[in-house]
């Protein structure tokens, strides 16, 4: 039986769609599961057989959110307190924004310098390599000395200390991405501005940065997400006052039995901002990642 060329092509396309849908389901399902579990009551959360579909298999409720204190509950205080959660969220936000700002400032300056100037004593390439190699440092080599140094400098458990630590990892990334974006700006623009009497700092601020706003957006998104998600420094260098949200969540099952509905609710809180960010800045994320990789 001869299959026509057109039918073969249709079959091929259908097969591709099938695979893509399967992959999409695999990608989404774990996130869906967490989402759904956050809205379950304790008796539905961890049952056999597991319950997948709200309204059909279980009644969704806001119990978990009340339990962790985010919503007022009639039964009095729940398992966790709202102040702990909101406090750590606030810390995470402040640290993320802080390290983003510092990284972007340091990184953009350095990227401009490396792109625009020729250094005589050390070659541009070597300076760039020095900066970028900081990214390849395993953080574990820094955590132990940081702990000792911070405890001497009273930076332990402070937001400032965390900002400093996160910037070490973020700034090289900023340099790399911004330099790629700067590459697409003709240097003649700077020259003509300078002939008109513009300093380099002005040129950077007024010309180069506005032209590379997508790059700024991409790097800011990345550094913010990185800082938000970061765990190793967070659990070793913070305890109570500067505790970040991932660190709080990480400590949840090391005590008593796992309250999966509570945990899922907290996971949602940590995931939702990042997802919103992703949806909004999707284009920038993709262009930022790819411009760094594709010259």
């Amino acid at each position: 039986m001869k299959i026509s060329q057109r039918t073969k092509k249709r079959l091929g396309t259908s097969l591709i769609y099938f695979v893509l849908i399967v992959v999409a389901v695999v990608m989404i399902f774990p996130l869906y599961w967490t989402f759904v579990t956050a809205f379950k009551e304790p008796r539905d959360a961890f049952t056999f057989p597991p319950k997948y579909i709200p309204y059909l298999q279980f009644k969704p409720s806001l119990f978990a959110f009340k339990d962790i204190g985010l919503l007022p509950s009639a039964e009095g205080s729940g398992t966790h307190s709202a102040t702990a959660i909101l406090g750590t969220l606030r810390n995470s936000i402040v640290i993320a924004v802080g390290s983003t700002v510092v990284s972007v400032v340091l990184g953009s300056l350095a990227a401009y310098a490396l792109w625009n100037f020729r250094f005589r004593r050390w070659k541009n390439k070597d300076i760039a390599f020095f900066i970028l190699s900081q990214r390849m440092l395993p953080p574990i080599a820094l955590v132990i000395p940081y702990f000792i140094l911070y405890s001497r400098l009273h930076l332990l458990d402070t937001v400032l200390g965390m900002i400093i630590a996160h910037t070490v990892a973020s700034a090289p990334f900023v340099v790399w991405i911004m330099k790629s974006f700067f590459n697409s700006i003709p240097k003649e623009l700077i020259d003509s501005a300078r002939i008109d009497g513009c300093s380099h700092f002005s040129a950077l601020w007024r010309i180069v940065l506005p032209l590379s706003l997508p790059g700024l957006a991409a790097t800011s998104v990345f550094t913010t997400i990185f800082s938000w998600n970061e765990l190793l420094f967070a659990i070793t260098l913070t305890f109570n006052k500067a505790r970040t949200f991932p660190a709080l969540v990480a400590g949840l099952t090391h005590g008593s039995a796992a309250l999966w509905w509570d945990i899922s609710a907290m996971l949602l809180i940590s995931m939702v901002p990042v997802f919103l960010f992703t949806m909004l800045f999707q284009r920038y994320i993709v262009s930022g990642l790819t411009l760094g990789a594709i010259k």
């Binding site: 396309t13 591709i16 769609y17 990608m27 989404i28 774990p30 996130l31 599961w33 967490t34 961890f46 597991p50 340091l106 300056l109 401009y112 310098a113 490396l114 250094f119 541009n124 390439k125 300076i127 760039a128 390599f129 020095f130 900066i131 395993p138 574990i140 820094l142 955590v143 132990i144 000395p145 940081y146 702990f147 630590a165 910037t167 070490v168 700034a171 340099v175 020259d191 002939i195 009497g197 300093s199 380099h200 700092f201 997400i225 998600n229 765990l231 190793l232 070793t236 991932p246 969540v249 945990i263 940590s270 997802f275 992703t278 993709v286 990642l289 790819t290 990789a293 594709i294 010259k295």
Partner: protein, 317 residues
């Protein structure tokens, strides 16, 4: 603003202001040195916050510094390193890390590349798939760890439940030291395949069309097209994506900490986790620093080999 500068400007050369004009203070505040002023902050930052702690750690690794009641800090010479070589747990966790990295990155590359190839056609709903596919890598690693811990639960977890529906046997996943590492690898592949996918997709999109048209005219099969045209053209992008993934995978800590805390036993304990346990869990700061330093040296060697292999040094410019 640039007083009395003699600007040599030709069509082949960029204007360069000669240095050392004016007095010391004039020069310091002029625009001439701005190229240094722009670079100095980040360099100083890294020297203070990156290099100095490393030197400090190096010194630490030669000390005996166990934080505890009444213990002195003594000079230990090489004894920390000797202990390191004899430490089976160190080698075991290193092996775990290597297996994890090799398996995870290979799978992520193959799957990510495959997905990118699949999506590189003009299909309807492409951008929807793209957004859905990159969601996993945006989730917090801590969240991913807990989520998969729920999924992997042996009796109540959805994965085993679905396996049961298909009449397949249950897998102990995280509760058995035979399968725990594999389970964690699967989780990492789930999270980071989108990373390779998105980079390769953009790379594939940016490839020129002419070679493909020429190949079609010459009657090349799709397999031939792939190996002789696609692969060579995409190789540098592929190399960078793999390199980026490798850099992150060897540092793996977050999902392991949350999913298994290194267990059962030490079957999912990574090198980073071991160094952290020794240094800041048992508070043997000297020995912990030695472990961390050994890992640092190994990482440096590993990455120098990688950059030689991939010849990506000029990409760093």
């Amino acid at each position: 603003m640039i007083k009395g500068a003699k600007i040599k400007y030709s069509t082949t050369q960029r204007a360069e202001v000669p240095l050392r004009q004016g007095s010391f203070l004039q020069r310091m505040f002029s625009d001439q040195y701005s190229k240094y002023y722009m670079l100095v902050p980040i360099i100083v930052y890294f020297l203070l916050i990156g290099i100095f702690p490393l030197i400090f750690s190096f010194v630490l690794s030669f000390l005996n510094w166990d934080v505890g009641a009444g213990k002195q800090i003594t000079f230990a010479g090489l004894s920390n390193y000797v202990e390191l070589i004899r430490d089976t747990r160190f080698w075991q966790t290193l092996q775990n890390t290597i297996i994890f990295t090799a398996a995870a990155v290979s799978l992520e590359t193959i799957l990510g590349f495959g997905l990118a190839l699949l999506l590189n056609r003009n299909l309807r709903g492409q951008s929807v798939f793209r957004v859905l596919f990159i969601l996993p890598m945006m989730a917090t690693p801590v969240a991913v760890g807990y989520t998969w811990r729920m999924l992997y639960h042996v009796t109540n977890g959805p994965i085993n439940h679905m396996l049961g529906l298909l009449h397949l046997p249950y897998v102990p996943w995280l509760s058995s030291s035979n399968t725990a590492l594999m389970s964690v690898i699967i989780t990492d592949v789930w999270q980071w395949t989108p990373f390779i996918f998105i980079i390769l997709l953009a790379g594939l999109r940016s490839l020129p069309k002419e070679p493909y048209e020429a190949a079609a005219v010459d009657g090349a099969s799709s397999i031939q097209t792939f190996f002789y045209i696609t692969l060579p053209m995409i190789s540098s992008v592929l190399a960078i994506a793999i390199l980026l993934r490798l850099v992150e995978a060897v540092k793996i800590f977050d999902i392991l900490f949350v999913m298994t805390a290194g267990g059962p036993g030490i079957s999912t304990e990574s090198s980073t986790m071991y160094a952290k346990i020794v240094g800041l869990g048992q508070f043997r700061l000297g020995y912990g620093a030695a472990i961390a330093y050994a890992l640092l040296i190994l990482s440096i060697i590993f990455f120098m080999i990688l950059t030689k292999v991939f010849r990506t040094e000029k990409e760093i410019e």
